[in-house]
């Protein structure tokens, strides 16, 4: 699952289409576009074998800006369209772009089922915690109390955490990246690509118009070191400007705590080491939120499992091997027949 990127002659710009990019100036989606084009160049799949599928939303305009095949579909249904593409042709490298509204409000069910089925594709959920395209209504990831055109007195719903939702949906790969972190994002996307099955990547993105600064506590350069925990499989969980803080299991409890290295005799050995294969740990990490905890980014969870589309064609191949050549005339003549003579 940790397949290294093949050397590739492709450049990021080979994945850019001729269409003018039309997000608001300063929108976080520009940075993600750059990060994705970089990741694709690193991965090296020829553009004609890549398909981008999206729903509806600002983020879902994404496919138009890629030089690959692309389908900008309808609101919330991108996982279903993408599943269809893989069922038709499992050789295509399918990337899905959705938003927090598209993917978790109207499209929550398709997301759920694409994840549990483990259809082989990369799902990038651009989470700006707001409906951008329809001008600023709150979304299922908006913080409680969000004032928006549809909630002038503040929203009342408890928000969803995309990664906890994905883990509950039995996803086999769950990761996080941040629009502003251009160094980190392509690596996460490469990991997602290398994974067989549905790879879910939540990408925080700043909607400068309707929800500016929602992630400033960790996405801004000055806050990243203290606000974020960058996960690496097998590595101890250290963070902080001075790399002097860590995460461990609170003794005697089933919860995490932040500790200070060097204080009370705490050393690196006391810290949790990241284990990507532990779904429960992923849940603990995914639930960490500023300011009490750093926000975990990178690969939270990764589990080996057969991809759905692979299994589908395994069954097709087995049926063909067992059933012999498919003969339409034989099919029509199977079972009880009788002849009426001249």
């Amino acid at each position: 699952m940790n397949a290294p990127a093949k050397p590739s002659a492709l450049k990021a710009k080979d994945f850019a289409s001729d269409q003018e990019v039309r997000w608001c100036p300063g929108c976080g989606d520009y940075a993600i576009l750059k990060g994705v084009q970089k990741a694709l160049a690193d991965i090296g799949t020829p553009p004609e074998n890549v398909v981008f599928i999206s729903g509806i939303g600002c983020s879902s305009r994404f496919p138009y800006y890629m030089s690959t095949y692309g389908f900008h579909t309808i609101h919330g249904r991108a996982p279903a369209f993408a599943t269809g593409v893989k069922l038709a042709n499992p050789d295509m490298d399918v990337w899905l772009v959705t938003g927090d509204g598209d993917g978790l409000s109207i499209g929550g069910n398709h997301m759920l089922h694409a994840l549990r089925r483990n259809v082989n594709m990369q799902i990038m959920l651009f989470n700006n915690e707001i409906y951008g395209l329809t001008k600023g209504q709150y979304s299922p990831t908006s913080k409680q109390g969000t004032r928006s055109p549809s909630t002038p007195l503040g929203s009342l719903d408890r928000p969803l955490s995309p990664v906890l939702f994905a883990l509950g949906a039995n996803a086999s790969f769950v990761a996080r990246a941040v629009d502003t972190q251009q160094k980190h994002m392509p690596g996460v996307l490469q990991r997602a690509h290398a994974h067989e099955g549905a790879s879910f990547v939540e990408i925080y993105t700043n909607c400068i118009v309707y929800n500016d600064g929602a992630f400033g506590s960790f996405s801004e350069k000055t806050n990243a070191a203290d606000g974020e925990l960058v996960l690496e499989h097998g590595e101890p969980m250290i963070f902080g400007q001075d790399r002097d803080k860590g995460i461990r299991m609170k003794p005697g409890a089933i919860e995490l705590e932040v500790v200070q290295l060097g204080v009370d005799g705490i050393t690196e050995d006391d810290l949790l080491r990241h284990d990507e294969t532990n779904r429960v740990l992923a849940g603990l990490l995914g639930a960490m939120r500023n300011p009490d905890f750093p926000v975990a980014v990178g690969v939270l969870y990764c589990e080996d499992a057969e991809a759905y589309d692979t299994a589908v064609y395994r069954q097709v191949d087995e049926a063909r091997a067992a059933g012999g050549e498919a003969d339409m005339n034989a099919l029509l003549r199977g079972g009880a027949t009788w002849t009426v003579g001249e």
């Binding site: 074998n49 249904r77 059933g323 002849t339 003579g341």
Partner: protein, 634 residues
């Protein structure tokens, strides 16, 4: 002449009465195996050379408590020496395996008809469950019918006791005993059923033996027992049927095979994405077993996902198909609109059921025509086809694939619950006789210097090109926002939207040039009255018009398989009739389309009770219109 292959007809024992056609209904508890009984009788009847039509009528409950009226399952067959068009208006013979079956079905039996009853089940408890206040065998309820009572339960138990089966298993052979009796009554061969039993119970030979013994016992009972009145068994001559190899086929089978056949002719993989719903689920089940035909099936999480993944499959260069029934089709509307705008091939099958809303899932209706023709937001024209009988589903499946791929358009194909479940004899076609229509995907060399234009158009068909992901140089992006003519790029331009709207409409309208001119099934090309039908009303209309013409009425039968676009000559054809009558199992839908299109004063005959038309209902409607007319020839 009929030869039944590898089957020897038994010599007839007693002198038999000859009849031209008969309607038999088997009715019993859901657990009594009436559907099996019916399909075995169908096969035996086909082998005997009769023409036939059947109507299975399932209960809505999975397994209703035994003996209740709502647990009654029935199977009706109409067979004869002449062309049979429907499962028959009213049974000549009702087999009632329990009081509930009698209760539910007696009302439909022809006056003077025969009622065969298993007295073994007419216990006080069962009578009460069925809602009888007194025993109908003892009060006068059955006056006017020819009643044959026998304790089938006991007779079966006795027949099978030597095979060491449990009481429960023994009683389960009751249906075979009954079948044996009916075989005797109509002089059918038991051999194919015996073979079928041996095969079905290959791993339980004692069960097979018991069933075969019961079948034989019922037969012997007919031969030897003193049946009341002048009942001495019947002969139904062979019908005059086109020679060839036949099978029985349900609409579900024929449609599934037709779709697979169509994609083979188009040289495509078929990707079926569906969500279970009565009565459409069978299509999913059948295609799920056809993986060797390059058929991929997918049970999606809901109908929306099914439609969307089918469209995704079409985008990826295979044929996406999605199947459902009315309420599920409603959910697919938004996605179908995308397929219209994106101009991707897609076949949407609607096996209609009675509505609105959940309605009566196990009952038939043809009330989704409005939905098919008009049921989307904005101007979103597509092709609508309607199969007319179980066997016709095969050809309509192929036609749906042909039009979808040739014109890059969604095609809505309408079947219904009746057609889907009923079976009819089918002269099996030779697949090699079908003209292939392989899809030509865009190739890199097609585009020359410029870049690929996904919304360039074929001059003749107005179809756009289809480029398969994976093809180098043809990368393109499409979507639901209005697309620029040619490039397909997003365009908010006013005139482009007008042009694209016009093009989409013209493309679909133009298909009228590519479908057969509308013919007349029976009768003259003009005259006093045309009965215009679509879908599974074909059978009753066809028989009714036949009867009426025999009776001297100037009536013609016009049957539509192409609902949208309509055949180009239809308007002219209809204008040649003084009256146009449109029988529909809905509240008047095709009639609206015809009136709007042609301004013909077409009138509806509606039936919305979950049951197919009776022949007499159509006859009466025509007669009431023509008999009133002064002077002229009937």
């Amino acid at each position: 002449m009929v030869t039944s292959t590898a089957v020897q007809l038994e010599p007839t024992g007693t002198p038999r009465e000859e009849v031209e056609s008969v309607v038999v209904r088997f009715a019993g508890d859901s657990g009594d195996g009436m559907q099996l009984t019916g399909s075995q009788f169908t096969l035996a009847t086909a082998l005997a050379g009769n023409d036939l039509a059947t109507f299975p009528d399932f209960p809505a409950e999975i397994r209703a408590p035994i003996g209740t009226t709502f647990g009654v399952s029935a199977f009706q067959i109409n067979f004869g020496a002449r062309k049979i068009a429907t499962a028959g208006d009213a049974p000549d013979v009702l087999v009632a395996m329990n009081p509930a079956a009698l209760k539910v079905n007696l009302g439909e039996v022809k006056t003077g008809g025969t009622v065969i009853v298993d007295t073994g089940t007419f216990t006080g408890r069962n009578l009460k469950k069925a809602g009888f206040d007194s025993d109908p065998l003892e009060d006068n309820s059955l006056d006017g019918f020819q009643v044959l009572t026998m304790d089938i339960s006991k007779l079966t138990m006795e027949a099978v006791k030597e095979f060491g089966v449990s009481n429960k298993e023994a009683l389960r052979s009751k249906n075979m005993w009954t079948l044996g009796l009916i075989y005797w009554l109509y002089d059918r061969d038991r051999e194919p059923t015996i073979n079928w039993l041996r095969n079905k119970f290959a791993k339980l030979p004692h069960i097979a033996d018991a069933n075969i013994a019961a079948l034989g016992a019922g037969h012997i009972y007919g031969e030897t027992a003193e049946l009341p009145g002048d009942m001495r068994g019947f002969t139904v001559r062979q019908a005059d049927i086109t020679p060839g190899l036949y099978r029985a086929v349900t609409g579900a089978e024929a449609l599934a095979w037709g779709l697979a056949a169509g994609t083979k002719l188009a040289d495509l993989r078929l990707v079926l994405a569906s969500y279970p719903i009565t009565p459409a689920s069978n299509l999913l089940h059948i295609l799920a077993g056809m993986k060797q035909f390059d058929v991929v099936t997918f049970q999606a999480e809901d109908e929306i996902a099914a439609a969307c993944s089918a469209i995704g499959a079409s985008f990826a260069g295979t044929l996406g198909v999605t199947t459902s029934s009315g309420p599920g089709i409603a959910l697919k509307g938004e996605a179908i609109g995308l397929a219209v705008g994106a101009e991707l091939p897609l076949v949407v099958v609607n096996v209609q059921r009675a509505g609105p809303s959940t309605g009566l899932p196990t009952k038939t209706e043809q009330s989704d025509l409005y939905q098919a023709v008009y049921g989307r937001n904005a101007d979103a024209p597509l092709v609508v086809l309607a199969a007319s009988s179980p066997a016709n589903c095969f050809d309509m499946g192929i036609e749906a694939v042909r039009l979808a791929t040739k014109y890059m358009t969604p095609v809505m194909l309408l079947s219904d619950g009746y057609m889907g479940n009923a079976s009819e004899p089918w002269l099996i076609p030779d697949f090699n006789d079908y003209e292939p229509f392989p899809v030509k995907f865009s190739a890199p060399e097609d585009i020359g210097e410029g870049s690929f234009l996904p919304y360039a158009r074929d001059e003749e068909t107005l179809a756009r090109p289809w480029a398969r992901p994976g093809t180098s140089g043809l990368q393109h992006r499409i979507g639901g926002i209005e697309r620029e003519d040619g490039s397909g790029n997003i365009s908010y331009d006013a005139e482009n939207h007008q042009r694209m709207t016009d093009l989409r409409a013209a493309k679909i309208r133009g298909i009228a040039k590519d479908i057969p001119l509308q013919g007349v099934e029976q009768g003259n090309e003009s005259g006093q009255l045309a009965v215009v039908g679509w879908g599974s009303t074909h059978g009753p209309i066809s028989r009714a018009v036949g009867n009426l013409r025999d009776g001297g009425y100037d009536v013609s039968h016009i049957h539509l398989h192409h609902i949208w676009p309509l055949p180009s000559n239809l308007g002219e054809l209809l204008s040649g009739f003084d009256q146009v009558l449109v029988p529909e199992m809905n509240n008047g839908q095709l009639v609206t389309v015809l009136r709007a299109e042609y301004l013909v004063p077409a009138e509806p005959i509606n039936k919305v009770n979950g049951q197919p038309f009776k022949i007499t209902e159509i006859e009466d409607a025509v007669k009431s219109r023509l008999d009133g007319q002064s002077g002229e020839a009937k």
